[in-house]
């Protein structure tokens, strides 16, 4: 366990090597919040509610949702793992006594922790400067469940991108998978077509997929927009998917790694 914590520490340290990057991360977070504040102020001018949300609830949802989304740095795992497999760099993960999934998982956790810490500071600064009242559910169960789901969501995304990355052992080029997975996520999260436009059956099916529960459900839970019962369903779905994806990742790695030729070293 200590070795993975050292990977976490190393990854966190990597994020603060370049001071300009650190400053820009905070500026970007502040910029995003200010932009949302301006946009939603315009949308709410003269209105109490938009889509059932008050101004404060909408802004809180946006801040928490984008905050959770920015913590997910996992998409770089698929491209990095596949690149390393292609150019031979993956060899170093085969000769060191560490599970590659654990290594990449903790590496991403270190990056996410950096973004969590610095975005939190930036968000707090904004909340004070612009007197934004962030509405968070007072229900402690909802808070804990939302936090737990955010963690499970990140874990799922890490497993998901790791699985896609190691497909490079068989296919070498995983451009197709990266493209398809992007479309699946966009569709399942409603970024491609609003979920409300889809039929009830499709929406029902999508509820059993993990993607909406990675950001949407925990953000709604944390802002008190959905009940703990609804959250529990999402947490259950996520839990099952995490188990499935981690199992698939480990099995696929064991089966495919024997094809590795270490070309490039």
């Amino acid at each position: 366990m200590r070795k993975y914590l050292e990977v976490f520490r190393w990854s966190f340290k990597m994020q603060i090597v370049w001071r300009f990057d650190v400053a820009m991360t905070m500026v970007a977070t502040i910029g995003r919040i200010v932009a949302a504040w301006i946009l939603w102020s315009a949308a709410f001018s003269g209105k109490e509610l938009v889509g059932g949300f008050t101004f404060e609830a909408m802004l809180s949802y946006y801040i928490i949702g984008s905050f959770l989304a920015s913590l997910d740095m996992s998409n770089q795992i698929s491209s990095e793992v596949s690149y390393l497999i292609k150019d031979g760099g993956f060899s170093k993960h085969m000769v060191t006594p560490m599970n590659p999934f654990g290594f990449f998982g903790y590496m991403i956790a270190g990056e996410s922790a950096f973004h969590f810490a610095f975005s939190l500071i930036a968000a707090a600064v904004c909340a004070v400067l612009f007197r934004i009242k962030i509405v968070i559910t007072p229900d402690i169960t909802g808070l804990l469940l939302g936090g737990g789901m955010a963690f499970l969501g990140l874990l799922f995304m890490v497993g998901y991108h790791y699985l896609i990355g190691i497909l490079a052992f068989k296919f070498l080029d995983i451009g197709f998978f990266l493209h398809v997975q992007g479309s699946i996520i966009s569709f399942a999260t409603g970024a491609l077509v609003p979920l409300s436009l889809l039929s009830g059956t499709v929406v029902g099916v999508l509820r059993f997929l993990p993607f909406t529960h990675v950001v949407f459900t925990p953000a709604m839970l944390l802002t008190g927009q959905i009940s703990v019962d609804e959250g529990l369903f999402g947490a259950g779905v996520l839990l099952v998917w995490v188990a499935v994806i981690v199992f698939m990742g480990q099995t696929t790695y064991r089966r495919l790694r024997v094809r590795y030729e270490g070309v490039g070293i």
């Binding site: 990977v7 990597m14 070293i265």
Partner: protein, 329 residues
């Protein structure tokens, strides 16, 4: 004697696809792909005892790196038997991985944006090295290399030689029983090469670390390895004493003469002319006559520069092949 490394009839085949050049070739290969099987290592037997320092030499594409990749578990063999420290390497068991280290001259394990000390810390935890052993090893190796001052500098700012020293220290922090070195002195200047050789000698003699060294530099192998294994086209062509190898097969020296003006060069009878023009001559000279020929050249020609090199490993391998064919005939 228990061997640290054993292979029997070890073979590795690669499948790679061929494609004709041009757009037509690309379209054709989209529908009909032609594959070629290349045997990188063939029927390879090897036995290495604990504490040995063995040189693995051969020309480019001979199969040296493929063999090291199999011994470290990076790739799986196609057939044959392989055992390193009693393990089947490609099972990639952590207990096995903690007992060896590999340094690939062209692939770094250091973290470029961090300091070398940060990489050491990561490796300390990765290999679960107790703090006292970690501290002792780090002090010892940095003293040996006289490189304490580089520890807290960003790796990307270090020179190639300094980086290689840090690579070697990283790989030795966990006291590996076997050390695989693939071209550790590649691209380094003479003083850095010498320092690394001294360091490796010390590690081998003091700690009994078994070392398998792959190198293009004959000087590395000659000065470090009492035993050499020569590999050519995937086959083992020689396994024995390094001095015997060079005495029997490295029979010539390559002398390059750069003339101070335009002149006509006449090669002495015993020499083989590789290249000769009015400015420069490259000749292969029998070793025992190299001193006399050099003296003669310095006397007879106005020279701008002279260099004397050992015979290339590919020529040595060719000679071994030839001697084997003659013996068979």
């Amino acid at each position: 004697m228990n061997h640290v490394i054993t292979t029997k009839h070890l073979t590795k085949e690669y499948k790679r696809f061929e494609k004709e050049a041009g757009l037509k070739g690309s379209i054709k290969s989209l529908f009909r792909r032609k594959y070629e099987t290349k045997t990188a290592v063939s029927d390879f037997d090897l036995a290495i005892e604990p504490g040995e320092f063995v040189g693995l030499i051969g020309p480019n594409g001979a199969g040296k790196t493929t063999l090291v990749k199999m011994l470290t578990g990076i790739i799986a063999p196609t057939s044959g038997e392989i055992s390193v420290l009693g393990y089947y390497p490609n099972k990639l068991e952590n207990a096995f991985k903690k007992q060896y280290a590999v340094v690939m001259g062209q692939k770094s394990q250091l973290i470029y944006d961090m300091t070398a000390a940060d990489t050491f810390l990561l490796f300390k935890e990765m290999y679960e090295v107790p703090s006292d052993i970690y501290k002792r090893n780090m002090d010892l190796f940095t003293d040996l290399f006289n490189s304490k001052e580089y520890l807290n500098m960003q790796v990307r700012t270090l020179s190639l030689g300094e980086r290689m020293k840090m690579e070697l220290i990283t790989s030795l922090l966990h006291n590996p029983k076997v050390l695989f070195l693939d071209e550790p002195t590649i691209g380094l200047d003479a003083p850095a090469q010498r320092q690394i050789r001294e360091f490796l000698k010390e590690v081998n003699s003091k700690y009994g670390t078994t070392i398998l060294l792959t190198s293009h530099y004959m000087d590395d192998v000659r000065s470090l390895c009492p035993r050499s294994v020569v590999i050519g086209e995937g086959h083992k062509v020689y396994d024995g004493g390094t001095e015997e190898l060079f005495a029997s097969f490295q029979t010539h020296k390559k002398i390059t003469l750069q003339f101070a003006g335009e002149l006509e060069f006449t090669a002495p009878e015993c020499c083989i002319v590789v290249e000769a023009n009015s400015h420069k001559a490259i000749i292969m000279v029998p070793k025992e006559q190299s001193g006399r020929i050099l003296e003669q050249a310095m006397r007879d020609y106005p020279l701008k520069d002279i260099s004397v090199e050992e015979e290339d490993i590919s020529i040595v391998v060719e000679k071994i092949y030839r001697s084997r064919a003659e013996a068979k005939a």
